[in-house]
Subunit: 383 residues, 2 copies
Amino acid sequence: MATLRGGDLSRLRQLNSLTAIGALRGAGPLTLSALAKRTGLSRPSMKEVVDELMQLGWVEETPPAQGTIGRPARRYRFRASSGYLVGLDIGGHNIRAALANLNGEILAETRQPVRPDTPVEERLAAIERTVASCLALGGKTIADVWIVAAGTIGVITPEGRIHYCAAIPAWTGLDLAGRLREMFPCDVVVENDSRLAARAEAQRGTVRDASDVVFLHVGRRMGAALIIGGNVHRGFGAAAGEIAMLPQAQWFDAPEHLQNCSIIPPDTSPADAAGYTLAAARAGDPVALAAVERYVDDLAVGTSAMVLLLDPQVVVLGGGFSRSADVLLPPLRERLRRSCIRLPDVRASTLGDECVVTGAIDYAVAHLDHQLFTPDVPLPTSR
Amino acid sequence: MATLRGGDLSRLRQLNSLTAIGALRGAGPLTLSALAKRTGLSRPSMKEVVDELMQLGWVEETPPAQGTIGRPARRYRFRASSGYLVGLDIGGHNIRAALANLNGEILAETRQPVRPDTPVEERLAAIERTVASCLALGGKTIADVWIVAAGTIGVITPEGRIHYCAAIPAWTGLDLAGRLREMFPCDVVVENDSRLAARAEAQRGTVRDASDVVFLHVGRRMGAALIIGGNVHRGFGAAAGEIAMLPQAQWFDAPEHLQNCSIIPPDTSPADAAGYTLAAARAGDPVALAAVERYVDDLAVGTSAMVLLLDPQVVVLGGGFSRSADVLLPPLRERLRRSCIRLPDVRASTLGDECVVTGAIDYAVAHLDHQLFTPDVPLPTSR
DNA sequence: GTTAATAATGATGCACTCCTTCGTAAGTCA
DNA sequence: TGACTTACGAAGGAGTGCATCATTATTAAC
C-alpha cells in the first residue's frame, strides 16, 4: 500500500500501457483482442494504447497468423530489438559474457578462461575482450547496448565496489561498477553472482512457481541467495546471503570434504577433484560416500538455519555441484527433514554453468523494467 | 511489476479514494487543499473523492480549525469509529486484550493471568472473558468489532492452527482460529507473537524508518521475526523466524544462563530470576556479568546468522529482557562487530509488555487495509 | 465600524480515457 | 458464390480529472 498511488488520467494510460507491454513481453505476438482480454481493457482502448506504443517504438506489428477463421487479426509484439543487454559473469576461473535482446533472449555467448591470480588490469582487459567478441558474435556494437549487468564473486557494496572477495584476492577494494562504466558507455549494474544465479533460477529455472526460495550456490565456493516475496533479497548493504561467513554454519570449508577425499588420484586437477569424489559416490564407493555424508552434514547446517529462519517454499541446489544433485539431494533432504519444522521442496537446478550470466541478463531486464515502470527515469531512445 | 495493473476509470477513482483514505489515516484531520497537495490531485477532484467517501461512511467532517487567516477550511478525517478492532496476546502466563478503532488507536486494554498448564478449554474461556471485559471497558459490544487478531507463542499454520507450542503444552494441535471464530462473529486472524511484536516495532516503535529489520524477541522464551522490504516475513508455511529450533544456534537454552545464575536468591520466583541477574550485572556483580556474557555469546550466534543472511539495516532487541538493553546491547554489538560483514544498527525496543497486543492491533489494521485495497473483498458495512 | 487581504468554496467548461455499439472488411468453409 | 466468422474502424456516451473564476467567510488593519 506504500507504493499504491492514484493520479491523473495520463497515469491510468501509463499503467495500461505498461500492462500491455508486460503482456506482450510475457507471451509472443498477440492480437488486439487477445491483448484486450489479458489486460481487461476493451478492444478500442487497447487499440489506442497499442497505437501509442507503436509510435513510441516499443511495439511492432508482425504478419498475421495464417489459417484462422474470420478476418485475420493484426498481431503485435514487444520490440525486443530496440536495444540490447549484456550480461557478465566475472568468476575466478572464467569470464563469460552474453548478449540478449530486451526480452532477455540470449543471442550470443562468449567465454574466456582466466586465473584467480590474474592481475586486476589484465582481468579488466579480458572482460573488455570477452564483451567485444560477444558483441561481434551477435553482430552488434556497444552503441546498441542499453545496460551491462555484471555478476562477480564476493561481497559487493550497493554502489558496486568489491567489499571483500576471497576467491579473487586482487579484486577486494576495486570499484568494479566505476571501472565498467569507464569501459562501457551505458548503464552498468553490478551484483553478487549467487544472487544472479538465483534470479535466473526464478526466471527460467526450476522455481518459476515459487516466491520464497533458498538458493544454494554450491561448488568449489559456497554461496547462498534468498528470494523473498518473489524478489531476490539484496540486503541493506547488498551483503545478504553471506552465511558462509558464520563459523558455526561450517560452510566455508565444507567443499574440502569432497576436494581432499583420499580416493582422488594425485594427478587430478583441483577443478575435477570434487567431481571425482561425487562420481565415485554415485558408483557406490564407501570412502566417497562417507565424504559426501560429511559434506552434506556441513551443508545441511547452514541450510537448516536458512530454512528455519525463512520457511521457504523451495530449496534449490545450484552451482557446479548441482550436476551431482542425484547424489546430494537425498541425504540433504534427510537432514532437513530431521531439523526443520516443515520440509520444503528440495530441487536441483536445471541451469548449467551459464546460470550466472543468464541471471545477469535477467537482472538487466529487471533493471530495464524498473526504468520502464518508474516514471521520470529517462529511457534510452527506442527509435 | 507483477501486481501493477491498469484498468478502468473507476479503478482510477478507486486508487485515488484509497490514496485519500491513506493520507487521512496517516495524518489527523486534513483540509481539502492539504489532501489535494498530499495526493497530488487537484482540489475539485479531491472534493469529489471526499464527497464519495463521506457518502460511503469512510470519512467524516470535523469542525474547522480556529484562528486561521482567510475563510476557514472544512476539515475531514478518516472515520475511525466506523468499526473496532480487537487484539489478543495469548501468552503462557498472561492473556492480554486491546480494543482499538480503525486507526489502530487503542481505547481499552485488559489483562488476565493464566498459567502455562491451564487446560485448553479454561484458557479459551479466559480469552473470552478478557475480551468481554475489554469491550465493556471501551463501551462497545462484539457486534461493533470487525476483526479479531490474535497472537500466540509457537509455530502456527497459515490457517491458524497451533502446529507446535513448547510454552503451552496443551496448545499444540489446537485449531485456534477455528475456536476463536466460533467465539467471535467476525473476521479472525492468528499470527505468531514475535511477528506481531516486530510489526508493532515497525509501526510505532524504534524501526519506523527501516525496511529490513531483524527483531529479537528475547525473554524467558527466545523468538525472532524478520521484516523484509517493509513487510513482516511470514514464510510459506507461516513458520519463519524459528531459528531457535536449530541446535547450532544455541538459542533454545540461552535464557538458562540468566535464570539459573548462582547469585539468585533461592526464593526468587522464576518470573523474576533473569531480572535479578541482569540487575546484578548492571550493578557490576562479576558472577552476574559472566552469566550475561555467556547469554550474549549464545544470543549472538543466532543473531549473527540472521544478520549475515539478511544484512538488515537494524537489529532490534525486544521482549521482556529489552528492559535491560543497557546491559545487553554493548556486548551484543561487540560480538556482531566481530562476526558480521557490516554491523547493523542495534537498538532496544521502546515498547513494553504490550508489544504483542499492540502488534495484534496493527496486524488487524493491516488486514483491514488489505481488504480496503483489494477489490472484491466485501467490507463490513461502514454505515 | 469599515475596508482590505486572505484563503476556501462552488460552478462552469474543457480535455482525456475508456466503454458500448454498430456497420464494414477480410478471410474460411460448404 | 454465399454463409459464416472474426477483426476493424468510427461514432456517441459516460466517467474522471483539471483549470479558471466569481463568491463567500474570516482575520487584520485602519
